[in-house]
Subunit: 487 residues, 2 copies
Amino acid sequence: MNEIEIIMGNAQEAFDSYKTLSPTKRAGFLHEIASALEAAREQLVPVAHEESNLPLPRLNGELTRTTNQLKMFARLIEEGSWIEAVIDTADENRTPRKPDTRKMLLPVGPVVVFGASNFPFAFSTAGGDTASALAAGSSVIIKGHSSHARTSQLVFEAMQKAIAKTGVHPYTVQHVLGSGSTVGKALVEHPYTTAVGFTGSFNGGKALWEYANRRETPIPVFAEMSSINPVVFLPDTLRANAAALAKQYAASITLGMGQFCTNPGLLIAVQSEALDQFLGLLGEEFTRINPEKMLNSNIHSSYYTALNKALEQKGIEKVGEAGKNAGEGEAFPTVAKVKAGIFLQNPHFREEVFGPYSLAVCCENKDELKTVLRQLKGQLTTTIMATDTDIAGNGDIIDLQTTLAGRIILNDVPTGVEVCASMVHGGPFPATTDGRFTSVGTSAIKRWVRPVCFQGFKDSMLPDALKNNNPLKIWRIVNNEWTNAPI
Amino acid sequence: MNEIEIIMGNAQEAFDSYKTLSPTKRAGFLHEIASALEAAREQLVPVAHEESNLPLPRLNGELTRTTNQLKMFARLIEEGSWIEAVIDTADENRTPRKPDTRKMLLPVGPVVVFGASNFPFAFSTAGGDTASALAAGSSVIIKGHSSHARTSQLVFEAMQKAIAKTGVHPYTVQHVLGSGSTVGKALVEHPYTTAVGFTGSFNGGKALWEYANRRETPIPVFAEMSSINPVVFLPDTLRANAAALAKQYAASITLGMGQFCTNPGLLIAVQSEALDQFLGLLGEEFTRINPEKMLNSNIHSSYYTALNKALEQKGIEKVGEAGKNAGEGEAFPTVAKVKAGIFLQNPHFREEVFGPYSLAVCCENKDELKTVLRQLKGQLTTTIMATDTDIAGNGDIIDLQTTLAGRIILNDVPTGVEVCASMVHGGPFPATTDGRFTSVGTSAIKRWVRPVCFQGFKDSMLPDALKNNNPLKIWRIVNNEWTNAPI
């Protein structure tokens, strides 16, 4: 595949140039991309709407999130402590002599980013993966998602304006369209590729991870794949807040027609009158939710295949559904329930149904609820809905949840992922291929770097971050103490 | 394999208890292990000497390094900032409301550590992998190395005394002997195992990594595998310091009979009279080095197989060798040279020869030298020997070296790995399976944890590291600012 050869050669050349730019220059480039996207808003949003069926207000908000992410990474690299500068100065008097050693994080090389169907802006062409990789100093090759190819191309064109304006290497960002199993595979397998970012299906992410591991030199793949985001409802809150909870969760389950990685797909509680009441109210809420168009025909047909398969399982019972029929391309919001005893016997219930669907699991008692939690696979999020009375006796449940996911939420919904330094949008396999990293928030930059130690280097030879006089004025660990002072 | 089932059940139970201990308690346990090892020194060192053929002074030094490592990790977790506490407080006035999110690193679960043949103390039973995993809050299952099984058992017994004395869960550390391809494989494949530490051969490390990746839930394997640690000699230093360099490098290549992962196995320079002189002096130095016993018969026979294979290659020329014949079990120190043109054609020359052997690569010019560097696989270290004059014109060589290894050394030897916060003992594949981590120094603890975000938690429910009043008094990032103050 000659085209890939040319693209990757360009990406390597761009990396060799781009990685030498100062953090200030890289931050300036990120700001220019944000400005170029903002300038193209009137053009971008309608095309994304046409391609994705997502509502205009949502897309406008997503574009703002995208530009904010770019600015956040710009601030991060200007602040500079993310590079983890650690310095141990020499000790000539020790026997044996202690050398001067200094380490920091350096970018690994060209990064391949796969656009995600469900976020045409924030997790695609100029989304979080791209922004964090550019911030780290990587060149980026974007494999645009076919379901919003025109949006992807337009976003790329905006990025090219920022490239022209700032004079960074012209191939710092490249854009390619095509199938994941041919073009995507070839990009992952190319020897110049050093890391991969992906948000999508389990099968898609797992395949990329396998290509990467079969390389002569394996590379990391950060694939965010599948999660059913279990929510535990404790008894006191169900008694006290059934109606409010029903409203809150009906909205969260069907938000964006359930096409979020953090969609609450599993509602777990111990059987009680209050639970029955809550599920009744939840069912009622669903009748007031209208079917809407899904992102594309693949996702639409996958939803119905998965939904019908779920509803065919022995012991499942529908709790509620949308009050009117779904039109062409539309999802049909549905909520069902099953006894935990049956749930535990049937691994099918633990699979993700990507769309506006959730399954309530009704447990005989707390022990069974804990067994359900123990049987789940790794998740992006898990939530606990609880009053103070509930919390008092149920630390063991929260402990179990902590082992299960990257983010544990108290008394809120998992949909809505705050973009900030403390966010973890990641989790144990199969939620992601690598639960040690996040794809949202400033820490997402850590996916594209590795530490390098410089031993015995003269001050003038060291990167600025490690120089004695601390020209970047960053926080560092110097001889085991945190400081932003010069040495 | 019923024994493994029992061991891993115990390890999980121990983890559930041990992870709840405060950093101070865990630090106390590490200190007790160090004391117990110190108390057993007179017993441990002679047995290790008998099993490994390593000289007594080296083993005494290695045991001190081992106890120092334990104390270093104790200090690290008492200081506490390693857990990367990041806090973003809520903003009720923002639309939508900004939630309170707080993240930190938490231990992942039971860790399997494989003892290394070449470091019976520092990279084995109570070595750096075990110390860092215990510091992180993991329970540890040690697969003792068969070539020092008695030493491993004695070290484990010392650790058991520390367990008894501190009252930590009795199965916090467990010890098992047996073959890597049966017992080791079963440990890596067990569902309760969450991470693996290994130092040894490429084939051994790669096999463990493959077992781990074939699991239903893949887990990280931190295998430090193979490195030839290329050293670049620039012309001016060869002219000025040939005799000193020859002495320094003859000693480094043959230190511990070359049985170090950081042994300088490749000496690269541009052809010159000074290079010829240096190689002549290096050869002379070798005649003064005596053959010594290697670690075990496998390593001994592997050395001769690899050495003979290397010396059979077309274009290779011996530069020097030990002045007397090798006795039974002894290595025969050897240094050879080859023209870069031939080196570049024959991938065999890039394979590690584990033992007191090094190959000089003589380049026609600087461009060829850079081609040699570009063709090398990932390394633990790479070194540049250079005067100020040399450095001035050769930044491009140092840049290339920076992409190659975890540690770049100026004017020193790669053997000798300082145990400190800024050390990187790791490097791109195949030096290790994961170049983003180190197995030496405080950062080694990062291998056994993953980040977890707590959203909307009440202060009393949060781990101490994330509480408002900062009871651990650690450095944290609060609303994007570094601080050790309470909130």
